[in-house]
Symmetry: C2
Subunit: 117 residues, 2 copies
DNA sequence: CGGAAAGTTCGACTCTGATCGTACTGTTCG
DNA sequence: CGAACAGTACGATCAGAGTCGAACTTTCCG
């Protein structure tokens, strides 16, 4: 098989999506995928983002995001690539991904110009 | 005092907002406030929604939502009323509240017409 | 004043969820 | 074939969040 099962976008509920995005690691991953916009290796993305967790934990988070209907997994030889289900998510939750893209992480990106005070 | 402190909307991060909305009780409350659109008693709203929890727990959830910048609390005599910070939230996270309004609860509203297939 | 009602605060309990380590599966390549 | 690598599956552990109950605060009214 070269594809991994994923839920139909109509069956995805906002409750599950919000729970999936409530975790800092998963939020970092989704944000990176929004920026990447193409098939990417989840482990590498997190590594580059400074998130150092075990590979079983990475697998767990990717599964949560996939079950939430946010990402898609493809088998590429020895590794697995992930990408956002951009059109699907945009169709069911318009503006959600734009929101994530525009609001850079509050934890990692401390260089945000919030110092207006 | 007749007002309760709340964070400036510019200081509100999407991380905190997502975490706040990830709880079913809080999501129910916010959805009810979106529907109400006016000052409402949080305890009553939850009671009507079929959520039966202790009053200290209600107080806790309201505090989380208030700290997340989503709701506002006003003292009205012996009780306290809450309302959505509609304009503020809409300004900082456009489309978020519309998203919550259009996607009825997956847990409580099982009568949603998802059977289009 | 004194009781009632609504909400907050605090401490304690519980339970979900994130994390890790190990074992296992599947793929590539020497 | 067999070693190495990427990822999954499973079980165990641990921290954090939701929940409750009791005590306290504040307000209203008899």
């Amino acid at each position: 098989m070269t594809e991994v099962i994923e839920p139909a976008i109509e069956t995805v509920t906002i409750d599950v999506v919000l729970s999936a995005l409530a975790d800092p690691v998963r939020l970092t991953l989704v944000r990176a995928l929004v920026a990447a916009g193409d098939w990417t290796c989840g482990s590498d993305v997190l590594k580059e983002a400074g998130v150092t967790i075990g590979k079983s934990t990475v697998s767990h988070h990717i599964k949560v995001l996939r079950d939430a209907g946010l990402i898609r997994t493809r088998v590429d030889g020895i590794r697995r690539l992930v990408t956002l289900r951009y059109d699907d998510v945009e169709q069911r939750f318009p503006g959600l991904l734009s929101m994530l893209r525009e609001h850079a992480s509050a934890r990692t990106a401390a260089a945000a110009p919030t110092s207006s005070a």
